[in-house]
């Protein structure tokens, strides 16, 4: 009898394990938009739409998407939108797998430049120039839709836009009598003052490498102007340009001054952010996707959020770059599949989506859209308003270097960045490594 019990318990355990596993799979795996059930007749068309904002981890995004779809379906009674949702990493994997079997959804999300490249050369994405020249003309912030263009044809409509301000903790600045720097010299003075007082000047999680790349990109921009780095990457120039080497020298000088947090090459970005939030570091260079952390996120103490301010990256004396030039770039964008059987409807849907998203994303989800936002009369934390106004004045937007480059070269760039910050290579070798990698790909 005793033995029998064991069996029962054991089999129960097994069964519940499978049941639990099944539940878990459902949660983030895939979800059907069941609102579409009723009007499925022969004449109706279905747009398959895949996105990467599950309800669990990106609730506000998820809700905006759902309501946009509802609105679109009300406007177009003969069209239904079939949604599939996956988390970020699974999404990338699945997109790749689907494309190998030529089964991409009609509409989905993509990233700019390097990510886009293999899909475009495989003829998977439909050109969207007709929309850009038509209904959505002049709606986008300059430089955003261009990031989705390959050989002057645009294959994606950006939804998000991120620029990279230098955030600082005004409480720490005040305590040590540090002025907000507007030139690089002033920044160095500020760093020296803070370092002498035993305060970590800058939080940097350079284990992730792209974080250090932002510092380098800004210095390159401020010293050599916005074109130098872009030209080096698109091969009209060279990475061994004196300005790019000078920028690398400046990075190492900052490192030698103790500007960056102890052990930055072993810290991830989240850990670095943790130091900034814990008020253990005075400055933090990061994109605007972190704005909610400093404004609305209740998990961070009010006192801290009140003391976070931002400034544009300082200019370098005698440098070419101006202060209104930003490092940044669009995040995800929408694509339409080339072999979609409902291409017209799909194009209509993405147009509709981009317009509605532009109206709602910043107020409802704190996401800065790639479309221009009129700040008059919308209710937002002041920091958002300021950033949006700065954006309208932006003279240039330089896309993140690792996004501009192909995957292989980006990896060389990122590794060189880590080595540069770690004093493992000289600025000349740093430039040469990347020049070689870029030249090898030509």
């Amino acid at each position: 009898m005793k033995k029998g019990w064991h069996k029962v318990i054991f089999s129960f355990a097994i069964v519940s394990m499978f049941a639990l596993a099944a539940c878990g799979g459902n949660e983030e795996g895939s979800e059907d938009n069941s609102t579409s059930g009723e009007n499925e007749s022969d004449s109706s068309k279905t747009i398959e739409f895949m996105h990467l904002w599950p309800e669990g981890s990106s609730k506000q995004h998820h809700e905006i998407v759902n309501s946009i779809i509802d609105e679109f379906e009300t406007d177009h009674p003969d069209v239904t939108v079939d949604v599939e949702i996956l988390g970020n990493e699974q999404y990338k994997e699945k997109l790749k797998v689907l494309s190998t079997s030529n089964e991409l959804p009609d509409v989905g999300m993509t990233w700019a430049a390097g990510f886009l490249d293999p899909y475009v050369s495989g003829n998977m994405f439909a050109p969207l120039d007709d929309i850009l020249e038509g209904q959505l003309q002049d709606k986008f912030v300059p430089g955003t839709a261009e990031a989705y263009a390959i050989d002057d044809t645009t294959y994606g409509l950006p939804l998000e836009l991120n620029i990279t301000p230098l955030y600082y903790n005004s409480a720490i600045f005040e305590e040590h009598g540090v002025e907000v720097p507007s030139t690089f010299e002033e920044l160095k003075v500020a760093i020296q003052t803070l370092a002498d007082a035993g305060v970590t000047p800058i939080a940097l999680g350079n284990k992730d490498r792209w974080t250090g790349s932002m510092w380098y990109m800004y210095l390159a921009d401020r010293i050599g102007g916005p074109e130098v780095l872009n030209n080096a990457i698109d091969r009209t120039g060279s990475f061994e340009d004196p300005a790019l080497i000078k920028a690398a020298e400046e990075v190492q000088e900052l490192v030698d001054m103790g500007a960056f947090i102890n052990g930055f090459n072993g810290l991830g970005n989240d850990e670095a952010k943790g130091y900034f939030i814990n008020e253990q570091a005075a400055m933090y260079l990061m994109a605007t996707w972190d704005l909610p952390e400093w404004t609305t996120n209740e998990d961070n103490p009010q006192e801290f959020r009140d003391s976070v301010e931002y400034t544009k990256f300082p200019t370098v004396e005698g440098g070419e770059g101006d202060i209104n030039s930003f490092v940044g770039g669009p995040g995800v964008g929408l694509f339409v599949a080339e072999n979609s059987d409902v291409k017209e409807e799909a194009k209509e849907f993405v147009t509709f989506f981009v317009e509605k998203w532009g109206e709602r994303s910043v107020t409802d989800a704190g996401v800065i859209p790639a479309t221009k936002v009129d700040t008059e009369g919308i209710d937002l934390p002041q920091m958002y308003i300021d950033i949006l106004n700065d954006l309208n004045e932006a003279s240039n937007l330089t896309l993140y270097a690792d996004v501009q480059m192909s995957a292989g070269v980006a990896d060389v760039h990122l590794d060189s960045i880590q080595a540069l910050f770690g004093d493992a290579i000289t600025p000349e070798d740093f430039a040469k490594q990347q020049e070689d990698a870029l030249a090898a790909e030509e």
Binding site: K96, S99, T100, P118, Y119, S121, G122, T200, N206, K207, D208, R209, I261, N262, G263, F264, N265, G266, L267, G268, E271, Y275, Q280, A407, G408, A410, D411, D415, Q418, A419, G422, A424
Partner: protein, 292 residues
């Protein structure tokens, strides 16, 4: 029953499900990986056959050999660490107080997922707020190292975490083997006047030599293909200072979209592991099977 079992068709039928699974999930993918290794392929577009080009590139790839060196270093230290594990098991298997509890404590790291362990050690090693450096500062060390950021230290810092992770696994294997030794042998040795150290060294260890050989192979093979903690803790950095073969393979295949090259590395890793396993078996081979 015997008649049924001697029928070849029935045997085939019973073996078939397991056979299909193992072919579909293990041998098939190995062959496919070998095939991809001969291609130039970014994982999405068209494949081009390039023959052994990936492998010739691999032989010349300094970064690959550096990661291979790290993998072998890890294998060396894992094997070395079997000695203290064995010592601990010998003590636990003796009749000491609380050995039951201690055994469970040693086993706990086994129950945690690798990612959790990695996060735990990342927190311990944190250069400014971490437990280790706080402790070092407390006992008067000035400027303790930033463990995971220092190219000379990072590999060893991770090794410590890996060895800690697997301690329970080997200890439990040794413990079980030691418990299987008949009490009578130990008693006989005691009557002959052997002290505990002699009993451990001359009787117990030789008796479980078969198990020890298995653990040596496990430690070496496991180390050569090791991936998880390293990937989470440093991603192979800084500057490739903690890169091992498996993390390098992942980086090539998934970060730089060079699936052909990644597959070549994977296949090469398989070959290395096979050869090393064969050598280990040869070196530790012995004639006599032990029977109690």
């Amino acid at each position: 029953m015997n008649k049924v079992m001697s029928n070849k068709a029935v045997i085939a039928l019973y073996v078939l499900p397991a056979f299909i699974l193992i072919v579909a999930l293990i041998y098939g993918p190995i062959l496919i990986t070998g095939y991809y290794g001969l291609m130039d392929w970014n994982g999405i577009g068209a494949m081009t056959f390039v023959g052994l080009e990936n492998y010739t590139q691999l032989i010349k790839d300094a970064q690959f050999w550096q990661s291979a060196y790290h993998s072998f270093l890890l294998a060396f230290f894992s094997t070395l660490s079997l000695v203290p594990y064995l010592a601990i098991s010998l003590i636990l298997a003796g009749k000491i107080k609380g050995s039951d509890l201690l055994r469970k404590i040693y086993l706990i790291p086994m129950l945690l997922s690798s990612v959790a362990i990695a996060q735990l050690w990342v927190k311990i090693y944190d250069p400014n707020n971490g437990m280790l450096n706080s402790f070092l500062t407390m006992v008067g060390v000035e400027n303790p190292p930033a463990w995971l950021a220092d190219t000379n230290l990072v590999l060893y810092a991770i090794f410590v975490a890996i060895l800690w992770q697997y301690a329970g696994f080997y200890i439990i294997i040794y413990y079980a083997a030691l418990k299987g030794i008949p009490e009578s042998l130990v008693e006989a040795a005691k009557i002959d006047g052997a002290n505990p150290v002699q009993i451990a060294y001359k009787i117990k260890v030789p008796l479980i030599s078969g198990v020890i050989k298995v653990t040596v192979v496990l430690a070496i093979v496991g180390s050569l293909k090791y991936f998880d903690l390293i990937y989470v803790m440093t991603g192979g950095g800084p500057n490739g200072a903690s890169e091992v073969i498996a993390s390098y393979m992942y980086k090539k295949a998934f970060d730089t979209f060079d699936f052909g090259y990644g597959s070549a590395i994977a296949f090469f890793l398989l070959l290395i592991t096979l050869v090393v396993t064969w050598i280990t078996r040869k070196l530790t081979a012995s004639e006599d099977e032990i029977q109690y």
